[in-house]
């Protein structure tokens, strides 16, 4: 099965069923199917062929959703980039993926045009509404040769060096993951899902995919900045599902939710980072009839586990058991399976496991390695877990030093590199400090030249000029020296451990 069939099948079974509610507009499955057929034809007319990459840099809009399915219908591979990304990040992804087409908001295009020069793009689409809503291109589908082993998407995630890595996902990978997720969430065409998560992230993208698989409706919003506005929309549209990240649950658990009639709400999910226990208990208190799903996953396969809602009060700090149609085990550093109760690296096998990182064979070999069978590569997640006697998983930590903040992965190295470009800074280490709202806040610990007077504001302004907002540290600590390892390197592990324990 091909991923675009989620849309096509739902349109066939009920052309007029609402698929998207976005910015005061309601779009039916039929509307979206026809619009994406037109856009697919526009892509084909611009010379976009099977297997070509199409980068989509749009906010959470109907046009973004249409573009995803248009790319698939044209046989190409889509890659979503958040418009909040800096021009450098967008261009790095366009370049890395070797994209043939770019679909982008006109205002954003103006600010990146300079950077796009010399990239081998065949076509740039700054405004696609005229294509979607006129008869320039026919609304019937293009013939396609796609098979389910072809790539459907590259989902970009920041690599260990801080440069973006494209996670290669086939149609089979994505159909498998969406099918398992829709099954355990018991999604049906009656569901109305409130999605504020960016489509450029797997968690946000899969709200569309799982909903479209079952013919449900999605309310698409641009973030959780004004929570009362989101709750108003949920009440008006009788939302049944709400995916959260901890930053959002922190805000919700501080609000007086009794002011909103959320009686239609059937479930809340958490992913992106561990679900803090006091958020769980507060949300259980505020919304006792809502099923809470604590989940764990990674872009490389989208989802690994979920805690059945009847277990949330029993073992609230577990991320549950494996999703359907998947196997996992916990191994030691030698790859040997560990007994229950012992901590080790989580290894996953299933048809949802990615094909690797785009044009990064070494990085790929590090995570896709032989598992129990010589004929198959399994996914080594790099995440440490233990399993209890009944088979429930508990997250212990990451094998590397990634800081998770606002649901985003931040690599200390990338921020340190920027800190070192500020004259006067001689040493820098970046660590994560547990934070109720952000998951982790970012702390920069720096040593300056004796003669230089730098303030916290100087350092933060420098970071803000060169980094995306979520990578800008929340605080700066000035020290006379940093602890070192025997090799004379900054003792990052020690600093990170102390910050984590603080």
């Amino acid at each position: 099965m091909q991923l675009e069939q989620f849309l096509e099948n739902s349109a066939r079974s009920d052309d007029r069923k609402t698929a998207l509610i976005v910015q005061g507009r309601r779009l039916s499955y039929g509307d979206l199917d026809r619009q994406s057929n037109r856009m697919a034809r526009a892509l084909a007319a611009a010379g976009i062929c099977r297997g070509d990459r199409v980068v989509i840099c749009l906010e959470n809009t109907a046009e973004a959703v249409v573009s995803i399915f248009a790319a698939l219908k044209a046989g190409s591979v889509f890659a979503l980039v958040s418009p909040a990304s800096r021009a450098e990040t967008l261009c790095a992804i366009v370049k890395d993926s070797g994209a043939s087409a770019l679909i982008i908001e006109a205002t954003k295009l103006n600010s990146v045009q300079q950077n796009l020069r010399n990239l081998p793009l065949k076509a740039v689409f700054p405004a696609i509404e005229p294509i979607l809503n006129s008869a320039i291109f026919a609304a019937d589908p293009l013939p396609t040769q796609t098979i389910d082993l072809d790539l459907a998407a590259l989902i970009y995630t920041s690599g260990s060096t801080g440069s973006p890595k494209g996670v290669m996902l086939t149609h089979l990978n994505m159909v498998s993951a969406a099918t398992s997720i829709a099954a355990y969430l018991k999604n049906t065409s009656d569901d109305v899902i409130m999605n504020v998560l960016p489509l450029s992230h797997g968690y946000g993208l899969y709200q569309i995919l799982t909903a479209f698989k079952v013919g449900a409706s999605v309310i698409l919003e641009r973030g959780f900045t004004y929570p009362a506005a989101i709750l108003n929309r949920m009440r008006e549209e009788k939302a049944t599902g709400l995916p959260l990240i901890p930053t959002m649950s922190a805000i919700l658990s501080r609000m007086d939710l009794a002011a909103w009639d959320l009686s239609s709400l059937r479930y809340i999910t958490n992913a992106g980072d561990a679900f803090p226990l006091h958020h769980i208990s507060r949300i259980r208190q505020l919304l006792p009839d809502v099923e809470l799903y604590s989940m764990y996953g990674l872009t490389e396969c989208q989802r690994v586990s979920y805690l059945p809602p009847d277990q949330i009060d029993v073992r609230p700090n577990s991320v549950g058991r494996g999703i359907p149609n998947q196997e996992f085990f916990i191994v030691d550093d030698g790859g040997n399976r560990l007994q229950r109760g012992t901590t080790g690296e989580l290894v996953v096998r299933g048809s949802h496991v990615m094909k690797g990182y785009w044009e990064m064979p070494e990085e790929t070999e590090r995570v896709l390695r032989q598992g129990p069978f010589p004929w198959e590569k399994a996914l080594y997640t790099g995440d440490l877990f233990r399993m209890d006697e009944e088979g429930y998983l508990y997250f212990v930590g990451r094998k590397d030093h990634v800081i998770k903040t606002r649901g985003e992965k931040v690599h200390p190295k990338e921020i340190e590199n920027i800190l070192y470009t500020l004259p006067g800074i001689v040493e820098a280490a970046v660590v994560g400090v547990p934070d109720e709202v952000l998951g982790h806040s970012i702390k920069a610990i720096v040593v300056t030249e004796a003669a230089v007077q730098l303030t916290e504001e100087d350092v933060l302004r420098h970071c803000a000029t060169h980094l995306e907002d979520f990578k800008v540290p929340q605080c700066v600590e000035f020290r006379a020296r940093l602890p070192k390892t025997q090799n004379g390197k900054i003792a990052r592990r020690e600093l990170a451990r102390k910050a984590e324990a603080a």
Partner: protein
């Protein structure tokens, strides 16, 4: 008050840069100046500086999403306060 609000936005969300040059009508959201943790900082500032209580249901863009909207919202809050005080006096 207008200048105070501008200064807060510039200091906290632009880290002192005024280079983006946003106007009093520009949406913080559209200009990507603010996210959900930013709004919490903004609410904290309003409550402390202007001695008001921002209610949960008031966390909507109509009240908070530009300098001019903030000014209107603060004006509304101060009338509300006066009415509350008058009502309290009438009862007593």
């Amino acid at each position: 008050m207008r200048n105070e609000l501008r200064k807060f936005i510039i200091d906290n969300f632009l880290f002192g840069r005024d280079s983006v040059g946003f106007s009093d009508d520009d949406s913080f959201l559209e200009k990507s100046l603010i996210d959900s943790s930013g709004v919490l900082e903004l609410v904290g500032f309003l409550e402390e500086t202007y001695d008001i209580a921002v209610r949960d249901h008031e966390l909507v863009p109509e009240n908070l999403d530009s300098i001019n909207k903030l000014l209107r919202y603060l004006a509304m809050k101060s009338t509300e306060d006066k009415e509350d005080r008058l009502a309290a006096r009438a009862v007593s």
